[in-house]
Amino acid sequence: MKRSSLAQKIINAPYILWAALFVIAPLIMVLYYALTDSTGAFSLDSVKQIGDYGGTFILSISYGAVATLISLVIAYPFAYFLAHTKANFQRMSVMLVMLPMWMSFLIRTYSWITILGESGVINSALGKIGIGPLPLLNNGGAVILGMVYNFLPYMILPLYTIMAKMDVRLIEAAQDLGCGKLQVIRKVVFPLSVPGIASGITMVFVPCVSTFYITQKLGGGQVNLIGDVIEAQFQTANNYNLGAALSLVLMVMILICLGVLNYFTDSDDEVNGGVLV
């Protein structure tokens, strides 16, 4: 026993050391910068400034929530239909859903400029029949579209995984007992798919709330979310302390959102994210 516990310590040491240095210590640094000023002295200035960004936080959550909800509404029927197609088709489709994730996130976002721009694909097509150009780009709608487009696969995959694993006999039993189609979905499929919904929401909501690239490219400066504000503190305004304070609030806020979600769905936390494989 003694020897095996020594071996275990040797096995665990590198990882625990790494996690302490590069996961825990950086978070402590965020706290440190949030509570100091540019000279390194203790100060609550940055924390006091957080209140000025309350509106930005609310706006970010709203954008994230809307994009997540739209993704869920689009992805749910897709996953349901897909889970009831032929096995070969399912395999191919899952590959096709995952493929866009291997393409650069930047290019995927950028490609929408080509489509939505003033002389883009849609507007030049509309122009031929005498409409427009419509202001499709540089507004909130374009940002939401960018979010939904970029993160839709993260919603589809967990939903599909759980629907494909669902016991068909339960659905058949409900039908035998006189359930209509909608009733089957409402009373059997939906409750069983809740863990998939929860991990889908997590995987879409978190990147949406904290994004800055999508808003900058598709929002054209019209939509300023918390990610943009934080990014600006580090890249242009050089106010690391305020940036750290805002990051800290963003982190806590998202943890609370996830906590609430987990509380209502009671999903197994070790499964989260594993569905991607």
């Binding site: 489709s93 291997w102 490609s111 489509i115 978190v206 990610g227 991607l276 494989v277």
Partner: protein, 228 residues
Amino acid sequence: MTKTSKLAKLYIALIFAFLYAPMAVMTVFSFNGSASTYKMSGFSTQWYLRLFNDEVTMNALKNTIILAVVSAAIATAMGTLATIGINSMRNKRLRSGVMSVTNIPMMNPEIVTGISMMLLFVFAGTMLGRKDSLGFATILIAHVTFQLPYVILSVMPKLRQTDSRIYEAAQDLGCHPLKAFFKVVFPQILPGIVSGALMAFTLSLDDFIISYFTNGPAFQTLPIHISR
């Protein structure tokens, strides 16, 4: 359950069109005769020639691949070892504590992970009296850190499925623990290790946000180069 209504098929097709249309548009315009991403004027491969002759872009591509290979190799080795360690922990509270810490980079928004590491590197840099603390080493550390949970989470289920009695039997039959591990456990968890490594590699290739905050001017990856 193979009957799928026409409406369902149409819906599936529509979603795929939505997912692939922007990429199709980009691909078409990459063969454009002019410099516009709006109007097609003739077919040409000039942009590809320009791309392959552009030293900065090619250098960024080389950096991206080097970073992805090295970081994925480190994360896979360390992550596999860590999974074995975590799995054999007897203290339940310690074990779930370590797992929670493991999940942090995955649950945290990427921007927070990126910024927290940047702050650590900048702080350590000032402590050591160096102004340009961001570079290859920092971006490598950052990539390994955000890949580790994905490796651990893909090896863990495989390791849980292995029967520890076979490992014990091998030792009873005179195998050295290390040899027993490589002969018995390793082949069984290999699929998990491979999928973890592949995932780590692709995550690194595509990463923009964390790289954006932890890269230095001396070492730019392709996503960083594209964004500029």
